[in-house]
């Protein structure tokens, strides 16, 4: 059994390496992904080993990157494109929403566009404007796209394998502030289905649902709560579209309380969708309204105050207290 301890960034690198090695139709494309190895070095060494035809440094044009990836996919390739930062995806948003998401339907299923778009997202790294955003809800709202986000090294490795093998376009959000967190990756494992949520901590008093960078925060909150005698269950959603409501429902039916945690603004965010659906499904099991902890309806703030904007341990625990007070 090949088990390695890898940081998330390296797990993604290994996953890309495996995909490039396994399927000659897989391409890696993006700004600086070649010689530099990406601004986070996620693609480090890939061009050296697979050549400039497979690991392609592109012009600095996000719409061009996604638009040409669509054309390559129509030709039978499986491009994995990198958008340098979350806030830079918007020049490509038109191509993703009006073209990539709809081509399969437009052709009555006759064509497939298996493009993976990797986007480092979220805050907490002290970056400047446009480098710390969480636009996942904008993509989840669009039919035709799938949206996933790993929170640990094993998922980073395997979910990318599954995204590349999918015949659908997949937006693969990478929690950039967790890039250097290490975890075990079993490269011989048989992974769970791509769109299955994981219960990563058992509990009985309330359920915390999170994904990507907030999973670690919620696990820390659950550990802190345990010291106060509160038993919190933590569900790592892993996938935002489709969203595994069954796993969330099962947890809420057990605990009776739900707090959804994400970095993105709560208004019209994925937490709102989860709250609405779980209220429909679990109305008679809920002991308290579903609460949300997330970003404010404000532009992502300057780095010096981002810790006030981002949900941290205290804000999560405050929500837990409010839920338990009902």
């Amino acid at each position: 059994m090949a088990v390695k301890k890898l940081p998330i960034a390296k797990a993604i690198n290994e996953s890309l390496r495996r995909a490039l090695d396994t399927d000659p139709k897989v391409l890696v494309m993006g700004e600086d992904v070649g010689k530099l190895g990406g601004v986070f070095r996620v693609t480090d060494g890939l061009q050296k080993d697979f050549g400039e035809d497979r690991v392609i440094d592109t012009p600095l044009a996000e719409s061009g990157i996604v638009g040409t990836a669509i054309g390559l996919a129509l030709r039978g390739y499986r491009p994995v494109v990198e958008i340098q930062f979350d806030g830079f995806v918007f020049p490509a948003y038109d191509q993703i929403v009006t073209q990539l998401a709809k081509m399969h339907a437009r052709a009555l299923g006759k064509v497939k566009v298996p493009v993976v778009i990797r986007i480092p997202y979220g805050g907490g790294i002290g970056a400047v404007e446009h480098h710390s955003e969480s636009p996942e809800s904008l993509f989840a709202h669009v039919a035709g796209l799938k949206v996933v986000t790993p929170s640990n090294s094993s998922d980073a490795y395997w979910m990318l394998q599954q995204a590349i093998q999918s015949d659908d376009p997949v937006i693969y959000f990478e929690p950039k502030r967790r890039y250097w967190d290490k975890g075990e990756v079993n490269t011989d494992a048989i992974p769970d289905p791509l769109h299955k949520a994981h219960t990563v901590r058992e509990g009985t008093d309330a359920t915390l649902v999170a994904y990507g960078p907030m999973v670690k925060t919620c696990l820390e909150a659950a550990a802190a709560a345990a010291e106060e005698g509160k038993s919190l269950e933590v569900v790592d959603l892993r996938t935002i579209s489709p969203l595994d409501f069954d796993t969330v429902q099962a947890s809420v039916e057990k605990t009776g309380r739900l707090i959804v945690v994400h970095e993105a603004p709560t208004f019209f965010g994925s937490g709102a969708e989860i709250a609405a659906r779980i209220t429909e499904r679990c109305f008679y099991h809920l002991e308290a309204p579903v609460l949300r902890v997330g970003g404010f309806h404000a532009p992502y703030p300057p780095a010096r105050v981002e810790e006030d904007y981002l949900p941290g341990l205290d804000r999560v625990l405050d929500a837990v207290d409010r839920s338990l007070a009902y």
Partner: protein
């Protein structure tokens, strides 16, 4: 209709070696005055362009491009004529059907038949075309059943054909998006080492879009075998070309490092020749080229448009004198390449096509409501499954309601 090029070099400028438009043609008003004022304008205000057949139906020599049409037989010319006539007839039927309420919208190609048929016939079966939404004539040349084009305008689908059957991608509504898809596809062609090329169609308005600029950049950087075929029909809905560019559009290519050529877009022979040139150099590894087909949209942008609000009748009348079909007919008749029997037979074929189009459109079935949930994802999606099941149950609730056999209404 294939031409083996023996060209040792490729023309770099629209004017290289070519005869200008005939003197009589120069007397007509210059509709592209904005472009004509640019560097590419010939003396007298007429924009310089590659022309092999004058508006009067006279064949003129061109040392650079004649070689690409040197083997055209009278039969080939009749094929081009037939393509244009039947395309125009199909288009006219669609306009009429829209007026009758059978189609929700129609973008007419009236006036652009030569640009589309000339370039379309230049492609080989293994060349791949990425159209915008007005390329009915190109679709015809690629062998797409024209009635398939009507589905999205009737509202029964959003595309509805298999692009791989004829190498003709689905229509693209968002302006200029497809130029990037064409470029990416061409990058794939090059990676595959395939001996084929790609043509991206777009209009003069699209040249203002960032995606077109990015397509130019990517195609040049990766030397992609793609031909950018811009039909400059002078108007982007109500905005003239002057609102898109301060220089003739074909000159944009220079800044990206590949050749640009302006061709008489109402001259089917010139469009055929210039596109063959561009395709051959693309296939030969010389990269992209931009063709600006200088033409005119005789009708409205779409059937929702009202061109009387923004353009003068005189302008259209001046372009009517340059009609692409009439000039080829004049040439065919003058050369004795077609007799009355040919034209009569073609008219009958047009009638048959028109009837078929009418019949197909009027009997086109509405899609089943449950088809809303089809083909959204190749690998499936839990939310789609859930909503499909909910909607099916909702529909079934009506089907289960007891119905009065005599009245069709609910039993009270």
């Amino acid at each position: 209709m294939t031409v083996e090029s023996t060209a040792a070099r490729t023309p770099r400028r629209a004017s290289s070696g070519g005869k200008r438009a005939s003197a009589s043609a120069k007397k007509t008003a210059s509709p592209g005055k904005g472009a004509a004022k640019g560097k590419g304008a010939a003396q007298g205000g007429e924009p310089e362009l590659v022309q092999l057949l004058t508006p009067e139906g006279e064949r003129v020599e061109n040392s650079e491009y004649d070689r690409y049409v040197a083997d055209l037989t009278p039969e080939d010319l009749r094929v081009l004529y037939r393509d244009m006539v039947l395309t125009r007839r199909f288009d006219a039927e669609a306009v009429t059907l829209q007026r009758q309420g059978e189609l929700g919208l129609w973008p007419s190609l009236l006036g652009q038949e030569a640009a589309q048929v000339g370039s379309g016939r230049a492609t080989r079966a293994d060349d791949y075309v990425f159209p915008t939404y007005r390329e009915h004539g190109v679709a015809w040349c690629k062998g797409v059943d024209p009635t398939l084009l009507l589905g999205m305008f009737r509202g029964v689908n959003n595309g509805g054909w298999d692009p791989n059957t004829n190498g003709f991608q689905l229509y693209t509504i968002v302006i200029g998006s497809q130029t990037l898809h064409a470029t990416g596809y061409a990058m794939g062609v090059a990676k595959d080492g395939a001996d084929s090329a790609v043509v991206a169609y777009f209009g003069d308005g699209a040249t203002s879009q960032g995606d077109v600029a990015e397509a130019f950049t990517f195609s040049a950087v990766y030397n992609a075998p793609v031909v950018f075929f811009c039909q400059n029909n002078q108007w982007a809905i109500s905005e003239p070309t002057e609102k898109q560019s301060r220089v003739p559009l074909y000159q944009r290519a220079q800044g990206y490092g590949f050749p640009g050529v302006r061709v008489d877009g109402n001259d089917v022979i010139a469009c055929l020749a210039v596109t063959k040139w561009a395709l051959e150099r693309a296939r030969g590894g010389e990269g992209p080229a931009l063709i600006e087909a200088f033409t005119y949209r005789m009708g409205a942008h779409t059937t929702s448009d009202d061109p009387t609000r923004y353009r003068r009748d005189e302008e259209r009348e001046a372009w009517e004198a340059k009609d692409p079909i009439l000039r080829l007919r004049t040439y065919l008749e003058a050369q004795g390449h077609a007799d009355e029997g040919f034209f009569a037979e073609l008219e009958a074929e047009s009638e048959t096509l028109g009837k078929r189009v009418r019949d197909v459109v009027r009997t086109m079935p509405d899609p089943e409501p449950m088809s809303i949930f089809e083909n959204i994802y190749a690998d499936g999606h839990a939310l789609v499954d859930e909503e499909r099941a909910q909607f099916a149950a909702y529909q079934a609730s009506f089907a289960d309601a007891p119905v009065n056999a005599a009245t069709g209404g609910e039993v009270k």
